[in-house]
């Protein structure tokens, strides 16, 4: 059986192609058209595997662009997909922290990887990848360098949660001559504390798994672990958890359909 999960995020579009034994993945920037990037990531991953759309049994789309994909069999939210993906990637996960480009979520899951409860940020960008991106731009750095730049630095307090106000706060900190690395550490802490408060409200899990693009940032992970007072495991390939979850849910659905067909025959 071959299934595909397509996760169209605000910044990156991810695809996972799942066969009975293996899975492979592909990432593309989303750009200005979620529909186009979703289509193109699907075509490219199939091409690379030497497959055609007819070879695929089921496609699940997820991420904010999920509704704009005409070729999928079903759209499932990234909350359900990240839960399933994290459950597969890290054994025994009971709580998932997912920080993506424009959203952050905390998800409580059961032993099957199903969602039991979740919390998600309100419409502002505080505590998301976008917040890091905006701050990186102010500091003249790339978002991927932030963790290395801040390594070992003591964090400065960034009091504004609002991205716009935090940006001016960073500018004024720079003007005061506060070292860049301390500011970056402060930014990491700001993201972590925002997400930690969502986790507190939901009721803490035993085994926390970190997914989404921001999970690649070691600084955020460290502060998150400090804020929550417990270890947090970064999922292998954290950015792909959503697309992998989508492909796994596609497989589940496909099996269900087969069972129903068997019953009919």
């Amino acid at each position: 059986m071959i299934t595909v999960g397509i996760d169209v995020g605000s910044i990156t579009t991810k695809a996972v192609l799942l066969t009975d034994t293996t899975w492979q993945s592909l990432l593309l920037p989303t750009g200005c058209s979620p529909r186009e990037s979703g289509k193109s990531v699907f075509e490219q991953i199939l091409n690379r595997a030497g497959l055609s759309p007819a070879d695929v049994n089921y496609v699940v789309g997820t991420g904010y662009g999920r509704i704009s994909l005409p070729f999928i069999d079903k759209a499932i939210t990234e909350i359900t997909c990240h839960a399933r993906g994290a459950h597969h990637l890290v054994n025994g996960t009971d709580m998932v922290v997912d920080i993506g480009g424009q959203d952050s979520k905390v998800i409580l899951i059961d032993e099957q990887g199903s969602v039991m409860n979740f919390a998600m940020n309100d419409k502002c960008a505080a505590g998301t990848g976008r917040f890091l991106q905006v701050m990186a731009a102010v500091l003249g750095a790339d978002v991927s360098e932030l963790a290395d730049l801040a390594r070992g630095a003591e964090s400065v307090q960034i009091s504004s949660m609002c991205t716009v106000f935090a940006e001016s706060e960073v500018v004024s900190l720079l003007a005061q001559g506060v070292p860049k690395e301390r500011i970056i550490a402060g930014i990491h802490r700001s993201v972590a504390s925002r997400v930690a408060s969502m986790a507190e409200r939901l009721g803490r899990g035993e085994r926390l798994t970190f997914t989404g693009g921001v999970a690649r940032n070691d600084g955020v992970r460290e502060f998150l672990s400090r804020e929550l007072g417990q270890e947090i495991t970064v999922a292998p390939e954290p950015q792909l958890a959503g697309a992998l979850g989508a492909a796994l849910l596609a497989r589940d659905r496909c099996k269900q359909t087969l069972v129903t067909l068997d019953e009919i025959h």
């Binding site: 904010y64 909350i79 959203d103 199903s114 969602v115 998600m120 309100d122």
Partner: protein
């Protein structure tokens, strides 16, 4: 709108340019949210017609009433006893304030961060865009929340405001206070309209308004059926229209609709599949044209079966006792009915959380969505109590905080859909 109402709007002093923009936006929004629905009851035609004439026919009726010397009284809260306005020969209209309008003007007198409903009513008044507002001779304010309480002082610069002090607790002394407020309102309305409120006129008004509440309760009762015979969006629209339509006509039309729904129920017809998720919405009022969250919910495959809102159950769930033998007993009955409303402005407000548990059971709801306007302290804070009680009863809850803007629609859709995926998995 069929007739040319421009001369009327002009005479009301409306800012015609802004008003045109508003009127252009409503059919678009209404078409997208309402007319795309499948399996709508045929009797919704009347309510669609009311919306198509939103600033036309009803305003004309209000003007005719005024030309006969009648008064029009506006209200923003379901604590204002409509019966007393009617008994004094006035017409009471609920002013909607469900759209972001005149923000720049409103912000001249209000802080930037304030409840969108308050900002909206100030915007409507200062921007001269609501013909209902401009038809009002007076507004009745209340002290249900700090934002409104203080905003009414400002509104009084532009239109006479009579304030009623709504208590914050429900002890005996609070009941005495509220009873005196209701009694004073009778005197106030008599003076304002020049008409005497008599036992007979008040009795008539109590019976008429009870009639409206009873037909709305009948509609609510019908929604307990599986599959639900009417969508939550249509029901909300009816509840919104109840606040400003002619009472007798509204009762008659809603009765017709309920008759149709009864037939549908007997035939097993519904708006969604019998297996569709059943949701109760609870929280702050949803005023016209704020259909944002119900639209997201129902376009994600669920059906809303009840609204524990001011534009919903809180408006009609209790009736006024009709057995009073003199005016003072009628006032007692009115005061009692209104103080029974379980608004988050009261402390404690266990009756509301207890009711939610009961509603979830009676309506066989799969989950509750708590929806509050931004900056509404009473409801946003009370959400914690709601969450606690629902958790004890294993009733799934999703909490939403939003305003009249559309920029968070995508984000809200993700949360609502994820909630439904979770509920569906639990159900399976």
């Amino acid at each position: 709108m069929s007739n040319d109402y421009r001369p009327m709007w002009e005479s009301l002093g409306l800012d015609l340019e802004s008003h045109d923009q508003l009127l252009k936006a409503i059919p678009q929004a209404f078409g997208g949210v309402y007319m795309q629905q499948k399996n709508r009851p045929a009797e919704m035609e009347y309510f669609d017609f009311v919306v198509s004439e939103i600033h036309g026919l009803r305003i004309q009726e209000l003007q005719e009433h005024k030309s006969r010397g009648g008064k029009v009284v506006g209200a923003f809260c379901i604590f204002v006893p409509e019966e007393i306005v009617r008994a004094a020969g006035g017409i009471c209209v609920g002013l909607c304030s469900g759209a972001e309008i005149g923000t720049a003007q409103a912000e001249k007198v209000l802080p930037r961060n304030i409840c969108p409903l308050i900002k909206s009513f100030m915007g409507f008044k200062l921007g001269h865009v609501c013909p209902y507002f401009e038809s009002c001779d007076m507004v009745v304010g209340e002290t249900t929340c700090d934002g409104k309480k203080k905003a009414f002082e400002i509104l009084n610069d532009y239109i006479p405001v009579h304030m009623m002090e709504t208590p914050q607790m429900k002890r005996e002394k609070d009941k005495v206070l509220w009873r005196s407020e209701v009694r004073d309102f009778v005197t106030e309305m008599q003076q304002f309209t020049g008409n005497q409120v008599t036992y007979d006129s008040l009795q008539r008004a109590i019976i008429d308004v009870n009639g409206k509440r009873k037909v709305l309760a009948r509609l609510a009762e019908l929604r307990k059926n599986i599959p639900a015979p009417i969508s939550g969006k249509d029901s909300l629209l009816i509840e919104q229209i109840a606040m400003y339509d002619d009472v007798d006509r509204f009762t008659e039309q809603t009765t017709k609709l309920c008759d149709e729904l009864e037939k549908r129920t007997r035939a097993g017809l519904g708006v969604q599949e019998p297996g569709a998720l059943r949701i109760i919405v609870s929280g702050t009022p949803m005023a016209v044209p704020n259909w944002k969250v119900p639209h997201i919910i129902e376009s994600s495959g669920a059906v809303i079966v009840a609204e524990e809102l001011c534009t919903g159950l809180r408006y009609f769930e209790n009736t006024v006792d009709e057995d009073g033998s003199d005016l003072e007993q009628q006032v007692d009955a009115l005061a009692k009915r209104y103080l029974d409303i379980d608004c988050a402005c009261f402390t404690p407000n266990d009756a509301r959380t207890d009711k939610l548990v009961k509603l979830a059971e009676e309506y066989q709801a799969d989950g509750i969505i708590h929806c509050s306007l931004a900056f509404c302290d009473p409801y946003l804070v009370e959400a914690n109590r709601v969450e606690k009680v629902l958790k004890e009863h294993n009733i799934p809850l999703l909490r939403i905080e939003t305003d009249y803007g559309q920029e968070d629609s995508g984000q809200l859709k993700t949360r609502v859909e994820a909630f439904f995926e979770m509920l569906a998995a639990k159900k399976a």
